[in-house]
């Protein structure tokens, strides 16, 4: 029992640190990617290639003056960023970061908790995440913040539906809600026996899920809650210092987690091509698999940034039309199609 708790504790700590590190360096990567796409150099003053930029940003956030507006609701004003950060970090619990490792004759899974409802847990956490934005926006007692908060809630609710329906088609196919089992079903791949990743069987579901993930993370082209051309700063207009930092940081953590979920569900998780043919021991395959997993995650984070600096922001009615009139019927069609195909071919 003690050994089990120690192991899980260490795993939680490691994943917490990795999440924070990836989120911190995403802020750096975001600016570098933006600079690359716009033919600039980007941050290069702090350390070699500007690699210390996230540390400099963090230090700056801490030393900034912290302003809590007089007319705001103080308790909720502080609670808002806390909830945003907390829920962002919670989703990482069920993601399988790697296969099992054998140490001293014992098997250790590189996953904090293998819930049999894993994917629903992620949805639950995501659906609570919007409270951070709503509470923060409302308690600021500022019209622009309130508008940002209201937009965030409407957007999250709308896209959660299409996201949930796109997942149902995947669950129909895999027959399990556990993220670990979904990953293990995609094992093998090219090589000894042919077994494709889920994206091959669920291309439409993947595209719907991807679009909804952008909307859920409040990333451009769906960043209406903080649309600076209309709403000053959106829900975090009144925030300063590290509270603003927490909001911005939670967005990057969300991006990291959704990249991990996309990789797990549709791109094989910790599986990689030829994994049964390289002739390494189980532990080394696991280590390589985790490396591949993080490679996929990094690619999707890059994809998030690529889209952000390529596509302009939607208008609000366009956003709602896309969610309700295009993605929702497409997702339902996808469910019907998946059901029909799995009935006919009984895969």
């Amino acid at each position: 029992m003690i050994a089990f708790l120690t192991y899980k504790g260490i795993l939680v700590l490691v994943i917490f640190i990795i999440t924070l590190a990836v989120a911190a360096y995403s802020t750096y990567a975001e600016r570098k990617v933006a600079a690359f796409l716009q033919d600039r150099i980007g941050p290069d003053r702090a350390g070699p290639f500007g690699l210390l930029q996230p540390l400099a940003d963090g230090a700056k956030f801490f030393f900034k003056e912290e302003i809590i507006p007089n007319v705001s609701n103080k308790v909720l004003f502080v609670l808002g960023p806390c909830i945003a950060m907390l829920t962002a970090l919670m989703a990482g619990v069920v993601i399988p970061w790697g296969n099992t490792v054998f140490l001293g004759g014992k098997e250790y899974a590189l996953q904090i908790a293998d819930l049999n409802i894993g994917i629903l847990y992620v949805f639950g956490v995501v659906s609570i995440g919007v409270y951070g934005i709503m509470i923060g926006g409302w308690s600021s007692n500022n019209k622009f913040s309130l508008l940002g908060a209201i937009r965030a809630s409407a957007q999250m609710i709308s896209y959660e539906i299409a996201m949930g329906l796109s997942i149902i088609a995947l669950i129909l196919m895999t027959g399990t809600l556990s993220l670990r089992e979904i990953t293990l079903q995609q094992a093998g791949g090219i090589g000894s026996h042919w077994n494709f990743w889920n994206v091959v069987y669920q291309p439409l579901g993947f595209i719907i899920f991807l679009v909804c993930a952008f909307a859920e993370c409040n990333r451009t082209p769906f960043d209406l809650p903080e649309c600076e051309t209309e709403l000053v700063g959106g829900y975090h207009t009144e925030y300063s210092s590290m509270k603003l930092g927490l909001y911005l940081f939670s967005e990057y953590i969300n991006m990291f987690i959704s990249s991990a979920v996309i990789s797990t569900l549709y791109f094989g998780g910790f599986n990689f091509p030829f994994m049964n043919n390289v002739g390494l021991s189980h532990n080394w395959i696991t280590v390589l698999g985790s490396a591949f997993f993080f490679g996929k995650v990094v690619f999707f984070i890059f994809f998030f940034m690529w889209i952000r600096w390529t596509i302009p922001r939607f208008r609000y009615d366009q956003l709602m039309n896309l969610g309700w009139k295009i993605l929702l019927p497409l997702a339902i069609f996808n469910i019907a199609l998946t059901g029909l195909v799995s009935l006919l071919f009984s895969r």
């Binding site: 909720l76 409802i117 609570i128 959660e160």
Partner: protein, 167 residues
């Protein structure tokens, strides 16, 4: 351990449910109601019904309460704008909710016999699905048609108002 968790969750649920009723500010009421829902989800987990717990969180805390909060924020309700109801309405509300409590307690009377029948695994998604789509298929489908009818009704009501506004 389970017993202490049960007492803690029950305390949180009852305390925050009381605060839902007693807080003057509607936004606080909604936030306390969310905490109540979380406590109830915790009870589901104690009963080994993880699926019910997470669906409870997604549907109630994650969707319905977001809409509640949305409406309250949009209408900008707060302590000053809260309408004051007269005493008769309050007494009637207390009386009718007391009746509801009686009905709920009455329905739980035979519950102690059910505990061992289910074997404690009924809440897992696989068992629940088999029960829902086997034994209770007909009520389940009827409930879904009821929900569909409600949805169509809402769309119709919304459309009607839009037409009237244009006239």
């Amino acid at each position: 351990m389970t017993l202490y968790a049960f007492y803690f969750l029950s305390f949180v649920a009852i305390f925050s449910a009381l605060l839902v009723v007693f807080s003057k500010n509607p936004v606080y009421s909604v936030l306390y109601l969310i905490i109540t829902f979380f406590a109830i989800a915790g009870h589901y987990i104690l009963l080994n019904a993880q699926f019910l717990a997470v669906v409870h969180v997604i549907v109630y805390a994650g969707a319905i309460m977001v809409l509640f909060l949305y409406v309250i924020m949009l209408l900008n309700l707060n302590e000053e704008s809260e309408p004051h109801k007269n005493t008769m309405v309050k007494i009637a509300a207390v009386f009718s909710s007391g009746l509801l409590l009686l009905v709920l307690i009455g329905s739980l009377r035979g519950a102690s016999q059910l505990v061992h029948k289910t074997g404690g695994e009924i809440g897992l998604v696989q068992n629940l699905g088999q029960v829902l789509f086997g034994e209770f298929l007909f009520p389940f489908e009827v409930a879904s048609i009821l929900l569909l009818a409600a949805m169509v009704g809402v769309v119709m009501v919304g459309k009607d108002e839009e037409k009237n506004a244009n006239d």
